[in-house]
Symmetry: C2
Subunit: 217 residues, 2 copies
């Protein structure tokens, strides 16, 4: 069955690979599944046709026959459960890999999302400048805990898994701010993720669509 | 094998049931699994013994033989995958139930967590009062989208699932602020969740521990 995902017709990040379709593309490349992309214009994101697939008016979505999914984490877990390459065979190791997926989106990403809020949503507010370091420190607090847990290990728990795919994707959002570089073992971990062939193909695919276009507001 | 979870020795919410062990207790009650609780003092949360189980120094954790898990979403999904009662049999419906779990923690909960930040973490800052309505409006935006999707349906997608358990648990955090009551279908949905026998048992279990104690700072 053909797999179709949605992505921004023009990504707000201008091709930096931070839009969440990159995570799904990466997972599809890791498990070796071909896919098609339907590009959604910014003006169409909140229209009924797209909201039927994604009630929050976002990308990506995932269509495979009768199945329609949204939520990057759910899409990647679905792929990981149906194709080899993203989850270990051992039941306990599998549960831990899924645990790291949730840790990435529920424990590590929320303070990073606040950075987006402070910069873009509340960028014109008088408290923006004074608040920024507080938000950055909350990110550093989490990164310090994750850094301590990881030490010098290559991946979070044994072989590369969907947990690493998600954690690397979340962490690399903090490269532009310079925060990631403050934690050398996490920066090296992200670099290992970005060096994977599957990641490179995913990044190139979204870059080909977004790089030639002006950044959307 | 005995299941052991951790919970606050003294919950910061004084027994309102908002600490995340309530979500895991609820799941355990839905699938009919007995469990033991090890209570962790606030002072012990960041100690090495607890950090080995939970690198971010939080509760709950889950121990079952050799398996150690943290992250509420991962624990509930593990329970749902190994016991009947929280996921439908049909493969596509199962994927959608998991999708709603991720939607709860990754799309609906982040703006709610910002409410905690603005009230408790930055409560003494000069911008607190002016920022509060902006944060509340971001919650309302998400709730409006979810409310539109749900309409008058009883649960998110057919029968009650782990997706509902997680979504109800996330939504009920906004009862004290009054925001939930602004969306009557979501308020009714939360009330349906709270009316389940399994939820009542879970709530009562954490209440018995926390209700008699002064609220921790």
């Amino acid at each position: 069955m053909t797999i179709t995902i949605t992505a921004f017709e023009r990504s707000p990040d201008g091709g930096m690979g931070l839009a969440r379709d990159t995570r799904v593309r990466w997972a599809l490349e890791e498990v070796g599944q071909p896919y098609e992309v339907r590009y959604v214009a910014h003006s169409a994101m909140k229209e009924p046709a797209h909201l039927r697939l994604q009630p929050f008016g976002q990308i990506p979505t995932y269509e495979e026959g009768e199945l329609v999914l949204f939520e990057t984490g759910a899409i990647i877990l679905h792929l990981a459960q149906h194709h080899a390459g993203l989850l270990p065979d051992d039941a306990n190791a599998r549960a831990r890999a899924i645990m790291w997926m949730f840790a990435a989106v529920n424990s590590v990403e929320p303070p990073i999302l606040e950075l987006v809020t402070v910069k873009f949503v509340e960028g014109d507010k008088p408290w923006c400048k004074e608040r920024m370091p507080l938000v950055a420190d909350r990110i550093r607090h989490r990164f310090g805990q994750l850094s301590a847990r990881m030490g010098d290990t290559e991946w979070l728990d044994g072989a590369f898994s969907a947990g690493d795919l998600m954690m690397v994707s979340v962490l690399l959002r903090t490269k532009p701010s310079g925060i990631l570089a403050e934690f050398p073992n996490l920066a090296a971990y992200v670099a290992r993720g970005e060096a994977r062939d599957a990641y490179k193909r995913a990044f190139a695919a979204q870059w080909a669509v977004n790089a030639a276009k002006p950044v959307a507001s």
